[in-house]
C-alpha cells in the first residue's frame, strides 16, 4: 500500500494521528470512517471518529487551494474518486454469462472479480488516508479550522457536489490558469533555485505522466496473461478427467500447477500495480500540486512586478503614491512569504519523493523475487514428478 506520508516525513507526532479505520461500500458511494487520536487542546476529545464521503474530502482539499494563506505550500493532492464502474460492469457481465460456463468456472471467475473489487476498494481507502495523513503531518495545514471540522464534526458536512454553474466556473478558472501558466513559465526567474525547480518540475511531471500510463498498460497485459493461464488450467483439468490414456496424469498435474502459478502471476501484477503504478500516479498528482505552487508564486511575482511598475508611475506622476506604496509592500511581502515557504516545500517534496521511490522500489524488488522463487519452486517440483513418471 502507499506509504503513509507520516513515516516518510519523519514528523511523527503523538499530537495528531489520523487514519481510516473502516470503510463501507454502498451502491454508488463509499463511506469512510475517519479516526483521530489527538492530544491537541483544540479538540473536545482525545479520540473520536466520524463518517465521511469522497465529496467531503474534495471540499477540504479545495478549501486549502482557495485559501490565500496557503499559497506558499504544496497542497496535498486530492484523492481520486472511487471508481468501481469497471469492476461492477465485469461482475454484471459475469452474471449474464452464467449459463454459458461450468459451475466451477463461474465460481472461479466470481472469486476473481470479487478479489479485484476488494483490491480497488482497499486502494481507494489507502489514497484517502494518505491525503489526510499528509495534511496531519504538515506543520501549518494541520492547524486548519476546516480540517478540524472535517475530523470532528460528526454530522454530515452538507457539502453537495458542485452544480453545473460552479463546474463551469472551475473550467474557466483552469483555462485562465493554464494560459497564465504559460506566461509565467516563460519568464526567467532571478532566483536560480526556482528557475531550476520550474524546469525540473515541468519535465518531470510530463515524464511521470507517461511512465504512469505505460506502467498501467504493462500491468494490464500481465493480468490478461494470468487470466489466460487460468482458462488453460481449467481446460487441462477437463482433459485430464476425460482422458483415458497415460497422459491424463500429466494434464491433471499441470492443471494443478497452473492454478497455483496463475495466482502468483496475478499477485505479481497486483504488486506491480501497488508499488509501481500507484507510486507513479501519486507523484503525478504531487508534482502537479508542486507546479501549482510555482504558478502561485509566479503570479505573486507578476503582481509584485506590476506593483513596482505602478509605484514608479505613481511617483513620476506624483499621484496616489501612498496607495501605490502600500500595494507594493503587500505584494512584496506576499511574494517573499510564498518564496520562503515554497523553497522549503520543494525541498521537502524532493526528500519525500526520494524516500517513497526507494521504499517502493525495494519492496517491489523483494516481492518480485519472492514470487519468482515461489513460481520456480512449483515448476521444478511439478517437473520432477512428471519426469519421474515417464
Amino acid at each position: 500500500m502507499m506509504p503513509r506520508a507520516v513515516n516518510v516525513d519523519l514528523q511523527t507526532d503523538g499530537t495528531l494521528q489520523v487514519d481510516i479505520s473502516d470503510a463501507l461500500s454502498e451502491r454508488d458511494k463509499v463511506k469512510f470512517t475517519v479516526h483521530t487520536k489527538s492530544t491537541l487542546p483544540s479538540f473536545k476529545q482525545n479520540e473520536f471518529s466520524v463518517v465521511r464521503q469522497h465529496e467531503e474530502f474534495i471540499w477540504l482539499h479545495d478549501s486549502f487551494v482557495e485559501n490565500e494563506e496557503y499559497a506558499g505550500y504544496i497542497i496535498p493532492p486530492a484523492p481520486p474518486r472511487p471508481d468501481f464502474d469497471a469492476s461492477r460492469e465485469k461482475l454484471q457481465k459475469l452474471g449474464e454469462g452464467e449459463g454459458s460456463m461450468t459451475k466451477e468456472e463461474f465460481t472461479k471467475m466470481k472469486q476473481e472479480l470479487e478479489a479485484e473489487y476488494l483490491a480497488i476498494f482497499k486502494k481507494t481507502v489507502a489514497m484517502h488516508e494518505v491525503f489526510l495523513c499528509r495534511v496531519a503531518a504538515h506543520p501549518v495545514l494541520r492547524k486548519d479550522l476546516n480540517f478540524h471540522v472535517f475530523l470532528e464534526y460528526n454530522q454530515d458536512l452538507s457539502v453537495r457536489g458542485k452544480n453545473k454553474k460552479e463546474k463551469l466556473e472551475d473550467f474557466f478558472k483552469n483555462v485562465v490558469k493554464s494560459a497564465d501558466g504559460v506566461l509565467v513559465a516563460g519568464v526567467k526567474d532571478v532566483d536560480d533555485f526556482f528557475e531550476h525547480e520550474k524546469t525540473f518540475l515541468l519535465e518531470y511531471h510530463n515524464r511521470v505522466k507517461d511512465a504512469s500510463a505505460k506502467s498501467d498498460r504493462m500491468i494490464r497485459s500481465h493480468k490478461s496473461a494470468a487470466d489466460d493461464i487460468n482458462r488453460i488450467a481449467s481446460t487441462l483439468y477437463t482433459l485430464g478427467t476425460q482422458d483415458s490414456t497415460d497422459v491424463c496424469k500429466f494434464f491433471l498435474k499441470v492443471s494443478e500447477l497452473f492454478e497455483k502459478t496463475r495466482k502468483i502471476e496475478a499477485r505479481v501484477a497486483a504488486d506491480e500495480d501497488l508499488k509501481l503504478a500507484d507510486l507513479l500516479k501519486y507523484y503525478l498528482r504531487e508534482s502537479q500540486a508542486a507546479k501549482d505552487l510555482l504558478y502561485r508564486r509566479g503570479r505573486a511575482l507578476v503582481d509584485y512586478e506590476n506593483a513596482n511598475k505602478a509605484l514608479d508611475k505613481a511617483r513620476a506622476k506624483n499621484k496616489d503614491v501612498l496607495q501605490a506604496e502600500t500595494t507594493q509592500q503587500i505584494c512584496c511581502q506576499k511574494f517573499e512569504k510564498i518564496s520562503e515557504s515554497a523553497k522549503q516545500e520543494l525541498i521537502d517534496f524532493k526528500t519525500r519523493r526520494v524516500a517513497a521511490f526507494r521504499k517502493n522500489l525495494v519492496e517491489l524488488a523483494e516481492l518480485e523475487l519472492k514470487h519468482a522463487k515461489g513460481n520456480l519452486q512449483l515448476l521444478q517440483s511439478c517437473l520432477g514428478v512428471l519426469k519421474g513418471d515417464t
Binding site: 511512465a211 505505460k214 497485459s221 490478461s224 497422459v247 524532493k350 519468482a372 513460481n375 512428471l386
Partner: protein, 496 residues
C-alpha cells in the same frame, strides 16, 4: 492407460485363452470391474456390458469388436468361436487379463522389423526463389537415417510448399479410404505468402516463414513415423529425388481444388444421410472420445493462442515502459534515484526480451502442437467416416443381392430360361460383392483399431514430451527473472 497393444501371435498363448473359457461367469466379473484389468486395456472394458446384446445381433463384426487388438481374421482359433454358443465367444476379452508381458513383447517385435526407428528430418534454409507473384519459398529438406529403405544415410533436397501439399494429396488418396490416419499437411495462407512474395522483409513475414518451416518439419516427421507411409514410394521419392514434378492440382483455385471442395460437400451430405447401425461399442465409444478430445483441444488451443498474444503484448508494453522509465530517470534530479530509475529501465528492457522469448515458447511448443492435433483429429474423424462409407457400400451390396434373389425367384415362375441364367449370374456377382464388402469393412475396422492405437501412443508421447519441454521453458524464464531482480535490488537499496 496406454493405447492398445497387439495380442500375442496365435499359438500357445492363444490356446491358453480358450482354456479359460470354462469360467464364463468369472470372465464377466473381470470385465466389469476396471480395477482388475491391467491399465492398458480399456476397449475390453467398454465392450463388457454390450457383450450380450452384440452377440444376439448375429453380426460377425462383433467378434472382432471383442478382440483387444489385431486378432488376425485368418487365425484358425476364430472358427470354433463362430459355431459355439455365447460363452466361448466371450473368450477373446480374457486376453488382456492374461500375460501382459507377452503383449509387450509382441509389440516390440512388430516394431523391430529389421531396423529400429531411426530417422530424423529437418526443414531449413528458406530461400526466396523468383520475383513478384510467381515467387515462392524453397526449403531444404535434410534426412538423416540408418534405415535400409533409403539409398544413403544423409540426403538433402530442395522442396517448395506445394510439393508438400502434393505429397499429402497423394498419400491421402491412396490410404485414407483404407482407414489410415494420414497426417494432414500444414495450412495454406494466401495472406502470409503474398507478403513474402511481395518482398516485405519485416518481422511478420519472417515470423510467417519460420512458422511454416517448423510446421513442414513436424509434418514430415509425423508422416515418416507412420510405418506404412514410411515405405510409400511417394514419400521416398519426396525425400530423395532431386527433381519432383510440380504439383499443380494443389492450388486452391485450380480445377482439382474446386473438385475437392465439391467432393467435400458431397461427403458432408452423405454423412448426414447414412445412419450406420453401429453394433461395435468400441467404435462408438472411440468416436465419442475423440469428439470430446476435439472440443477440449480446440478450447485449449484458443486459450494458448490468447496467452501468446497477451505475452507478446506484455513484451511490447514492457519495452515501452522501459523507455519511459529511462526518460523519468533522466529528468530526476536526485542522483542516486536517477541512477536507480535508469537501472530499472535497463532491467525492464531485458524483461521485454524475456517475455518475448517465453511467448515464442508458448507458441512453438504448446500452441502449434495443439493446432497440429486439432487438424489430426479431423483426419481421425475422416477415418471414421470412411468406415461408415465402407459399411454403407456393403449394405448397399446386400440390398442389391436381395433384390437380385427376389428377381430370380420371380423368374422361376415366369419360365424364361435365358433370363433365369442371367439372373443366376447376377446373383453370383452380387454375392461376391457382398463378400468383398464385408471383407473391406472388416479390414478397415481392423486397420482403424490399429491406427487409433498408434495414434493414442503417439499422442501420449507427444504431449508428455512437449509438456515437459514447455515447463522447462517456464523454469528458465523464472530463473532469469530472479537473476534480474537480484541484480536490481541492491541498486534500489542504494538510493540515499
Amino acid at each position: 492407460m496406454a493405447a492398445e497393444r497387439d495380442p500375442p501371435p496365435p499359438g500357445d498363448a492363444g490356446q491358453a485363452r480358450f482354456g479359460e473359457a470354462e469360467d464364463g461367469e468369472d470372465l464377466f466379473v473381470v470385465l466389469c470391474s476396471p480395477a482388475s484389468l491391467p491399465a492398458e486395456d480399456i476397449s475390453a472394458n467398454s465392450n463388457g456390458p454390450k457383450l450380450v446384446d452384440s452377440f444376439l445381433d448375429d453380426d460377425p463384426d462383433d467378434l472382432f469388436a471383442e478382440a483387444t487388438e489385431e486378432v488376425s481374421l485368418d487365425s484358425p482359433e476364430r472358427e470354433p468361436i463362430l459355431s459355439d454358443g455365447p460363452s466361448p465367444a466371450i473368450t477373446p476379452i480374457m486376453a488382456p487379463r492374461i500375460d501382459s508381458t507377452l503383449f509387450d513383447q509382441a509389440l516390440e517385435e512388430e516394431e523391430d522389423n529389421g531396423d529400429t526407428f531411426d530417422i530424423c528430418i529437418s526443414v531449413s534454409d528458406p530461400e526466396k526463389v523468383g520475383d513478384g507473384m510467381n515467387a515462392y519459398m524453397a526449403y531444404k529438406v535434410t534426412t538423416k537415417t540408418s534405415l535400409s529403405v533409403f539409398s544413403q544415410n544423409e540426403l538433402s533436397v530442395r522442396r517448395r510448399f506445394s510439393d508438400f501439399l502434393g505429397l499429402h494429396s497423394k498419400l491421402a488418396s491412396k490410404y485414407m479410404h483404407s482407414g489410415y490416419i494420414v497426417p494432414p499437411a500444414p495450412e495454406k495462407s494466401i495472406v502470409g505468402m503474398t507478403k513474402v512474395k511481395v518482398g516485405k522483409e519485416d518481422s511478420s513475414s519472417t515470423e510467417f516463414v519460420e512458422k511454416r518451416r517448423s510446421a513442414l518439419e513436424r509434418y514430415l516427421m509425423r508422416t515418416v513415423k507412420h510405418p506404412v507411409m514410411l515405405k510409400d514410394p511417394n514419400v521416398l521419392q519426396f525425400l530423395e529425388s532431386s527433381e519432383l514434378p510440380r504439383a499443380v492440382s494443389t492450388q486452391a483455385l485450380s480445377g482439382a481444388g474446386i473438385l475437392r471442395m465439391v467432393n467435400k460437400a458431397a461427403d458432408a451430405v452423405n454423412k448426414m444421410t447414412i445412419k450406420m447401425n453401429e453394433s461395435d461399442a468400441w467404435f462408438e465409444e472411440k468416436q465419442q472420445q475423440f469428439e470430446n478430445l476435439d472440443a477440449q483441444f480446440r478450447k485449449l488451443h484458443a486459450s494458448v493462442e490468447s496467452l501468446v498474444c497477451h505475452r507478446k503484448e506484455l513484451s511490447l508494453n514492457t519495452a515501452s515502459f522501459a523507455k519511459s522509465a529511462a526518460m523519468l530517470g533522466n529528468s530526476e534530479d536526485h542522483t542516486a534515484l536517477s541512477r536507480a530509475l535508469s537501472q530499472l529501465a535497463e532491467m525492464e528492457e531485458k524483461m521485454e526480451q524475456l517475455h518475448m522469448d517465453q511467448a515464442y515458447a508458448d507458441f512453438y511448443l504448446f500452441a502449434e502442437l495443439l493446432g497440429d492435433y486439432v487438424r489430426l483429429l479431423t483426419a481421425v474423424k475422416g477415418v471414421f467416416d470412411q468406415r461408415m462409407k465402407t459399411w454403407s457400400k456393403w449394405q448397399d451390396a446386400q440390398l442389391m443381392l436381395q433384390r437380385k434373389r427376389e428377381a430370380e425367384a420371380k423368374l422361376q415362375y415366369a419360365n424364361k430360361p435365358d433370363k433365369l441364367q442371367q439372373a443366376k449370374d447376377e446373383i453370383k456377382e452380387w454375392e461376391g460383392k457382398v463378400q468383398q464388402g464385408e471383407r473391406d469393412f472388416e479390414q478397415i475396422s481392423k486397420t482403424i483399431r490399429k491406427e487409433l492405437g498408434r495414434f493414442e501412443k503417439e499422442r501420449v508421447k507427444d504431449f508428455k514430451s512437449v509438456i515437459i519441454k514447455y515447463l522447462e521453458s517456464l523454469v528458465q524464464t523464472q530463473q532469469q527473472l530472479i537473476k534480474y531482480w537480484e541484480a536490481f535490488l541492491p541498486e534500489a537499496k542504494a538510493i540515499a
